[in-house]
Symmetry: C2
Subunit: 548 residues, 2 copies
């Protein structure tokens, strides 16, 4: 064979073409369009950095402004479809195919475009799964990434929002792909090297920071007493008996309530040091009271959170920080930690069916699940025991040979029986199934499959699905905590009562919890301002969360 | 709280103590013992870099030579327990507790020391699982790592054996831990920056390369005709019908035979481009003929392989390489790729029981499984479909609602019915169970659990466990390919014949394979020299594999 080295040659051509629009590695902003046209080839796989938090927004806009006559049929492989420009790229015919993980604010438009055949869908992945494919069959030809600063050699400083950057760069640059970074500014020396300049081919000085969404900020003022009740149930009925020390919390007010109850209700139950000591978690502001009162030993983060930068830097005993003092986040490692090193995932969803499958997809919205399916699944490759894991495994298979019985990850769905706009949490059939049929998908977009869910918590109680011995028991256990929803009202009252006698269903009173005690005064902070005060002024909430 | 910043202060103290034995970041070899005594505290969690390939051997020896009066009760958290010094550290009382993944050559001694209570065992993990815990509850206080070269600022060049280094450094250095690297030499400028100097506190110039084991080199001359037959069965009976393009091969002669049959037998079957296009795999020398004949699009590597450096550098169209031209390996990403981006794992084992559980552990050897349990498990967090995955899922649950039916990873165990020293592959009960009982382990050291295995291949045929509908069918399917072992002879001949009629068991003749065709002439290379010639002289086998 004589034609080896084709990729290096192609990279060389791109570099030469790019250099015509650059000074050294630096591409001036006015040349950005011409530069991208010169280095991107039609049909390329392109990774535009963007997840549920940080966005390479300047590069996204520039890509969306290219002429589709010059650049077309791109295959976008990226964590998040979040900015309008991410979909403009498809609308304009610059890109054709999409493999992604998360699409929060664009969920409705992405669904519309899929129905309109403006996008050819590869698959909706978990973050870690998409990262995995970057190294096998979805390796980018070009990566457009974001950092805080660069030096003239291309060494990058990402600041606290390192997130996906090392993964994207490693997959692209080491496979003869081209890496272009937008940075706020070019400096003489970066505060720390998050990405070695060897791997970064061009840098664009944007003159302003990349966009970051404060997605993990929940205002304690908006937490309801029903949410507080579900949080009390979770703490007393799950965290305590299993002794869950290593865990991940999903996004939402229910888990925010749990975080704010640790130093009050959790303390009263004597759980400090016994639960919630190690997290795979972003720096949630609602974690501040628990951290300040010494509950938490260590937190590894997927990304950062707007306003938490100084607080995290001052709490390097808990968080991972760099030699510059600021947070080092890393989505790939944190997702791996959530998968393999945590004993529990607890989060919310939009719909749960009678088998226990859950999804946040509706017929008109494809949200993508980000990391939930990864963390909300039982990792069968796990080989280290822990008490919560063994206990859950024993509940699922009490009669099995203990030495050959694996443990189980605790996967908990928590929510109110009626959610936003009074939509019932429990449904006969997930909307995701309708969507799969309409779009002819091979798989319905299920967030957590029924065989992975272990517990469902609502204000009516806890259903322990590990202890269900038949499909029928499972259905009645779910109906038994579904409250006044149609699903709940159609329960077999006698069977539900039997399940309760067996401890499969536990009501607040079974746990010695009086729903009247579920009072907002139990929250360790009742407002964003309280969180700021608890942080000693280190937490600086974004202005939209300030009302004082 | 007033006592924040304790970890940074402790790191500061270690740095100050270390600097007394260093010039800048450089520790002279004669001071190494005094230096380690100064920076390591009794009770520390220490990661001594070493996996199944590369070893920080100089640092391991130095650690083993410390005085246990000065340094004791260390908690070693490391991928591999491979060098004698790794166990000397325990023998001498310097370390007490161990969490690890792999212990190839030390398997017998580690078992003896566990029985003798010289080691307090945490758990035997998969690599990825141990990496995950580095970020949650097994974060090292000190990491002792290995690289090829360093500059005076501590920037490290790992060469092709990057392997675990970025993961270990990230977990340690960003959590206020201390990182010490042994390097062959200190240079003015490293060929590429694998680890930024920011994260490396001290460097030791060893004057010779770190130790690397050529673990993935299989001499084609040692491949038997029985192994060739199993390889033919796997290719025609599994690779072809499922169309497996993305996969991982375990270590061993059976999979080496498959690799060497692709350009001959595979070509004849018309499978080029249809199977084996993308791998998570080390640079196996036995892959050379398949790569040279254009079978393989891309390979991402856990580590490197001795002698393959120049070949890999010249085949950057296939392998991941750096700006310096040499391989970039990364165990964490490759394990993630094996877990989430591959449709098949195929490997060998020592024992398979009647349910299909398998293990390489015997009563006197604790081998550790490295990556096999991770890659040999069904990743339930996977959300992207592929044809092999969907087909396997449909075989397992033909009557399920297709939209809610997940696919299945193909997990194949391949071997001869009688292995080394005529030990039967099939057993009533795994030795791992005896060992677990004797050592009072919570879990028996099972490599692949029965519910994850999909196929077993022996010279007698293929058992497709996906198509078994009961425990009894499963047992007979296993007996039905167990040949003349006791397990095989005790089969229910009628049931086995029924399984064969249903295609659950397929014999060579059912696949149109004549065992007499399983001839060594089918191998695309029949010796190490052939491999070298096939590589155009780029592959330079280690001397122990050269017999010409």
């Amino acid at each position: 064979m004589s034609d080896w080295g084709m990729q290096k040659a192609a990279l060389g051509e791109r570099l030469a073409a790019g250099r015509q629009h650059a000074r050294g590695k630096v591409v001036p902003i006015p040349s950005l369009g011409a530069f991208l046209t010169a280095v991107i080839r039609s049909g390329d796989r392109v990774c535009l950095e963007g997840d549920n938090q940080k966005q390479a927004d300047i590069l996204a806009s520039a890509l969306a402004n290219l002429d589709p006559q010059d650049v077309h049929d791109l295959h976008m492989v990226q964590s998040g479809v979040v900015l309008p420009s991410h979909l403009d790229i498809f609308e304009k015919g610059i890109a054709r195919r999409l493999d992604f993980s998360y699409s929060g604010p664009q969920a409705a438009r992405i669904a519309k475009m899929l129905f309109g055949r403006k996008i050819e869908l590869g698959a909706v992945h978990t973050y870690l799964e998409l990262f995995a494919r970057y190294f096998i069959d979805l390796t980018p030809n070009v990566a457009l990434i974001a950092a805080v600063s660069a030096d003239k050699d291309g060494n990058l400083y990402t600041g606290p929002n390192t997130e996906d950057t090392p993964t994207v760069v490693e997959a692209t640059s080491y496979k003869n792909g081209l890496v272009v970074a937008q940075v706020t500014e070019i400096v003489d020396k970066v505060p720390r090297v998050d990405i070695p300049g060897d791997l970064v081919h061009f840098v664009v000085e944007a003159g302003r920071p990349f966009y970051v969404e404060p997605l993990f900020t929940r205002d304690p003022a908006a937490i309801t007493e029903t949410q507080i009740l579900t949080a009390m149930l979770a703490i007393k009925g799950i965290y305590a008996p299993y002794g869950v020390r290593r865990l991940n919390h999903g996004i939402g007010f229910n888990t925010a309530a749990i975080e704010l109850l640790l130093p009050t209700y959790g303390e009263k139950l004597g759980l400090k040091g016994k639960v919630c000591t190690h997290f795979a978690l972003n720096p949630h502001p609602t974690m501040i009271p628990a951290i300040e009162s010494g509950w938490v030993e260590q937190i590894h983060c997927f990304g950062s959170e707007v306003g938490m930068e100084d607080y995290v830097a001052a709490r390097s005993d808990v968080f991972f920080t760099g030699p510059d003092g600021s947070l080092r986040s890393n989505r790939a490692f944190c997702q791996t930690a959530g998968l393999y090193a945590c004993d529990m995932f607890i989060g919310s969803t939009l719909q749960i069916d009678l088998e226990g499958h859950s999804s946040t997809v509706t017929t008109s919205r494809i949200a993508g699940f980000g990391g939930a399916p990864n963390m909300g699944s039982d990792p069968r490759g796990r080989r280290h025991p822990s008490e919560p894991w063994l206990k859950a495994g024993a509940e699922a298979a009490p009669d099995a040979d203990a030495a050959l019985r694996r443990g189980r990850k605790l996967v908990v769905q928590i929510g109110e029986t009626f959610g936003d706009r009074n939509a019932p949490l429990f449904v006969e059939r997930l909307d995701a199934l309708e969507l799969a049929r309409a779009l002819k998908l091979d798989l319905a977009p299920v967030m957590v499959y029924s065989d992975d869910v272990t517990h469902i918590v609502t204000e009516e109680g806890i259903a322990n699905l590990l202890m269900c011995r038949s499909k029928d028991e499972r259905e009645q256990a779910i109906r038994g905590v579904a409250g006044y929803t149609e699903i709940g009202r159609a329960r077999d009252a006698k069977l539900v009562e039997q399940l309760r006698q067996r401890g499969v269903i536990r009501r607040p009173e079974d746990l010695g919890i009086d729903p009247l005690d579920a009072d907002r005064r139990l929250l360790a902070a009742r407002s964003i301002k309280d969180l700021m005060l608890a942080s000693g002024g280190l937490y600086r909430p974004p202005s939209r969360f300030r009302n004082w």
